[in-house]
């Protein structure tokens, strides 16, 4: 099976159960090699539950052994989901006890609020949004419990002022992403982190009430993740958007208003168009007319380039982020932290200040040309 055929099949899997999905079988029973590839892809895309549903509905044909293997993979994913949900409740309770405002994000939230059965949406880590002014306190608390931040900051308090967040690896080797905002770089810096704490809701996980963002913010988060996260968007995230679009749980005016405030309407548009191109789903009105007609402004076009162009890098996003930082003093603080990081940070990255400055200049020049 070619990579293209495998991607087509996993697309069929991801669409299972959507109103626009085909019900006809997608050809013959797959041979062992093709099924192994499909199993790996469905697992990596966090949709093993949809694969089982596709096999059971006959949309993809399988032998009994292949079906059993798909079921085993699904159970493995579900077992990890449970371990991660327990980590989420422990973390949430610990943050709440310390008086730290926080919200659970992504996998466990969408699994429980969007899907008919949470087992259809698997995940690989835990994401928690923390109030910017309590971010360092939260990370210190997790470190005191044995967590280890995966990356060093350019300077003290950089992440809590300007970053997306930090990945903390727990003593058990699980990944806990502590977010300040949804994404790194210019689109993340344009978000007002206080907006992310409006309109709170809760979900109950393992008998524990966990605070989560309301549906509009969750919708925007999955859109930011789909549009800017991975170079090829993950099917589970696209399916999250499709699940939102199949319901009426989003206040379109509010979503557009927030996206405008965050200079991120192009992100929303890209996420909607990507979802429609990968999955058989129509964007409902009035979002559809808006997505078809919206023309991104100069900032959005240039900012998108540092996320989606083939040579886009984290460094490019950091270097170009200065234009999205609000206020002259904050811009200067941002530039200073990136141009004059601590020596330990520099040793791990560029080697010398001169090399770092040259690289920053190149990235800035390229971004200005894109504008």
């Amino acid at each position: 099976m070619t990579t293209e055929q495998a991607r087509r099949l996993v697309g069929i899997v991801a669409a299972t159960g959507l109103p626009g999905a085909g019900a006809r079988p997608a050809g013959e029973v797959l041979d062992a090699e093709a099924m192994a590839e499909l199993l790996d892809l469905a697992t990596a895309e966090r949709i093993p539950g949809h694969l089982v549903a596709a096999l059971d509905s006959g949309v993809i044909r399988a032998t009994p052994d292949q079906r059993a293997e798909a079921g085993r993979r699904h159970e493995e994913a579900l077992a990890l989901d449970l371990v991660l949900e327990r980590l989420l409740t422990e973390t949430s309770s610990m943050l709440a006890d310390a008086g730290i405002a926080h919200r659970a994000l992504k996998g466990p939230v969408v699994a429980r609020t969007l899907y008919a059965e949470p087992g259809l949406r698997s995940f690989g880590d835990v994401d928690v949004l923390v109030a910017a002014d309590q971010f360092d306190e939260a990370v210190a608390l997790l470190a005191a419990m044995g967590g280890r931040p995966r990356y060093r900051e350019p300077r003290t308090r950089f992440t809590s002022r300007f970053g997306k967040g930090v990945c903390v690896v727990t003593r058990d080797g699980l990944e806990l992403d502590v977010h300040r905002v949804f994404v790194a770089g210019p689109f993340g810096l344009a978000i007002d982190p206080y907006d992310l704490f409006e309109d709170p809701c809760t979900i109950v996980v393992g008998g524990v009430e966990v605070p989560v963002p309301g549906p509009d913010l969750t919708f925007l988060h999955v859109c930011y993740h789909a549009a800017l996260g991975d170079r090829a968007p993950r099917y589970s995230t696209l399916r999250d958007i499709a699940e939102f679009l199949c319901t009426t749980s989003v206040d379109v005016d509010h979503v557009l208003s927030l996206a405008e405030r965050w200079r991120g309407r192009a992100v929303l548009q890209r996420a909607l168009l990507l979802t429609c191109s990968y999955l058989p789903i129509d964007v409902p009105q009035p979002l559809r007319d808006w997505a078809d007609s919206y023309r991104p402004d100069a900032f959005e076009r240039a900012a998108l380039a540092v996320y989606v162009s083939p040579d886009a890098t984290y460094a490019a996003r950091a270097a170009t982020g200065v234009w999205a930082v609000r206020g002259t003093r904050r811009k200067l603080a941002y530039a200073r932290a990136l141009l004059l990081p601590t020596r330990s940070y520099l040793r791990e990255r560029d080697g010398s200040y001169v090399q770092r400055w040259q690289r920053a200049l190149q990235l800035q020049r390229r971004w200005r040309q894109a504008r």
């Binding site: 449970l82 327990r86 008998g207």
Partner: protein, 101 residues
């Protein structure tokens, strides 16, 4: 079996702090402390489902023996063994009365 007052008439029910996922033929369970998730299927799954509300081992064994047309004594022993394991993992909680959850 651990715990004061244990007996086949003692009532048990799902612990509220359990993490659960279901598939077509099994349930995966994880308690609040230690150990990895446990998968139950077949009669063990049927027994788990029976403890959704407070029930005694005797009640559940009687029900399962009738459903599966199996010897009551053997089913009672298996249910008791399962309850002991699930209670030990923090998945089933002892209830003081049948109506108390």
């Amino acid at each position: 079996m651990g715990g004061a007052g244990w007996g086949p008439d003692a009532a048990y029910a799902h612990e509220s702090r359990v993490f659960v996922r279901r598939t077509a033929d099994c349930v995966l369970l994880l308690g609040p402390k230690g150990s990895s998730p446990l998968a139950l299927r077949g009669t063990a799954l049927a027994a788990w489902n029976a403890f959704a509300s407070p029930r005694s081992v005797n009640d559940v064994a009687r029900e399962l023996a009738a459903s599966y047309d199996a010897p009551r004594e053997r089913v009672s022993a298996e249910v008791a063994s399962l309850v002991e394991a699930l209670h030990g993992r923090g998945l089933l909680a002892r209830r003081h009365g049948r109506d108390e959850r």
